[in-house]
Symmetry: C2
Subunit: 325 residues, 2 copies
């Protein structure tokens, strides 16, 4: 693979000159410029970004750590992050932690060694201290860490309120909330707070169940929801913390012969694309994934440029009513 020296030699100029035409810096005569470009073409020369990175101390890489890209929410997030990263001249290194602390830690180490320009953290299995010592820009999705690291989330408390109120307003008598593991220190837990507070305040029968850490074990959902309906056959409203879980609730509810939404109302969360093509389509709380992704990249960039930025970034959610309520 041709280097800048090969080009310089063949073009009969110095490497400095080649570098200049490459970066369009300083004065160069049109003749040499043309000559150099010609030789580059001829040698099929591609500047080595690794060498550039070494010198500039900038890799133009953003690390994205999430639990699992094959989960629709994170798939859409990753897609959007990549889009905005690319638009800002960054590449994206994809890391799936699978919510294993060891893997998450290893990925963070790897990113340090690779001198990424910043990390977007969407997986949170470690302690606060593990993150605070990081030597470069971080942005956190859905978790508040320490005093200085900026975080992005949607308005989880409000989302919980909207969902719960909708179920109550529609006349539900006993509502269940299915959330993720509350042991993880996530802002998403505010949804649960909102649910319990609002349900309690309105004096409605309610209960909350947690999925375990292995978010990607789908059978877990089935068993859990089946048990829920078995133990509480009178449940007529479910607020699930993701559209996937909601889809399982729909499926199992139907299997048990419950009419939706007449006998069982279900509200999901996220508004991933699937929510609208499911049958019945899901009522859900929309998170602005696109805006969150755009902001994440922007916050990395701002930290790199030492520009001012907001530490707390809470984006609005929206209730999307569809068939399941």
């Amino acid at each position: 693979m041709a280097t800048i020296h090969d080009v310089a030699e063949k073009a009969g100029v110095s490497v400095t000159t080649v570098s200049r035409v490459l970066n369009n810096r300083g004065y160069i005569s049109d003749a040499t410029r043309r000559k150099v470009f010609g030789v580059m073409e001829e040698l099929n020369y591609h500047p080595n970004e690794i060498a550039r990175s070494l010198l500039r101390k900038q890799s133009n890489i953003i690390g994205l750590i999430i639990p699992n890209v094959s989960h629709p929410f994170f798939g859409e997030l990753a897609n959007d992050v990549e889009f905005f990263a690319h638009r800002n001249g960054f590449k994206v290194l994809l890391c799936n932690s699978r919510l294993e602390p060891a893997k998450e830690r290893e990925y963070i180490e790897m990113m340090k060694r690779n001198r990424v320009d910043g990390i977007i953290m969407g997986s949170h299995t470690l302690e606060v201290g593990d993150y605070e010592s990081l030597p470069y820009p971080i942005v956190t999705i859905d978790r508040r860490i320490g005093e200085s690291i900026p975080y992005i989330s949607s308005d989880n408390y409000r989302g919980g309120e909207l969902a719960t109120r909708l179920l109550i307003d529609k006349g539900c008598r006993k509502i269940a909330h299915i959330c993720g593991s509350l042991e993880l220190d996530l802002l998403a837990n505010l949804r649960t707070d909102a649910f319990e507070s609002m349900a309690t305040r309105s004096g409605i029968h309610h209960l909350t169940i947690q999925t375990d850490m292995d978010v990607f074990n789908q059978e877990q959902y089935e068993d859990m929801i089946r048990r829920l309906f078995r133990e509480h056959p009178d449940i007529d409203g479910v607020f699930a913390t993701s559209d996937i879980i909601a889809a399982f609730a729909v499926k199992i509810g139907r299997t048990l012969g419950k009419r939706i939404p007449e006998e069982l109302r279900i509200v999901g969360y996220d508004d991933v694309k699937a929510a609208s093509w499911l049958q019945p389509s899901l009522t859900t709380i929309r998170q602005p994934i696109r805006e969150m992704s755009e902001l994440a990249v922007e916050l990395i960039r701002k930290q790199m440029e030492e520009a001012p930025y907001e530490r707390e970034n809470i984006l609005p959610v929206e209730l999307i009513e569809r068939d399941t309520t």
Copy 2:
């Protein structure tokens, strides 16, 4: 950020020695080894992989170019590719081409400049020549390019046969096939060949419609399928080329009051996770995404090591019968 020089100085040894303990090469006394490790800890030293890459001419990065990670099929593929890449010591650079040739070309250029160790191509909007000139290992998913580049696909023809035969065997009288744009030179087009050949042979009424290039415009699916049923109300079997499209067919069929599977039978493709949690769950042709991903990483590795490898890698598909037939 500490460099190897800082460590050497503080430990009172040469950089060579530090490098040796780092890479565990050559003889070093236990005393200095301990000393050096201590200083590394103290200085919070992380070896700079960029410098290493420059020297070794190996980045340990695999580029993954796909249309869109938020599509379930590619999301699962990306997830698995990342898993196996990590296990083989590679990082993954994620690129969404959105099926725009300009973007795909730009990504390929970017990868050349960044000296990735190999590329897994799951997006195919360019001409064969654009790929053949690439200076490093490539693996292609679902497309055959030139004579030398290895490719991976599942047995598309067989998948088409299985789906079509199932519809016929179940007693369908008029079947429709919804495929992607046939202008793209994909092995997935074999599904269509199989459909048409088998339907023709058995003398059944049949027709094929193509979606346009913008695979990610979901409204397109709705309109297209609605029109299909309007123009051919007697269709009682649909073979869709993805589970997403199949899900839309289910949704619209239901809206039109057709009972599934009694009056309308539907077969999808891929067996993404959603296929099993949809309601009704989808009958589909399973592609072995995990195996395909593992093989993709392995083929990159083998090319790097100049080990022998198969050029043609066609993995078996499987019919998964669920509720929609």
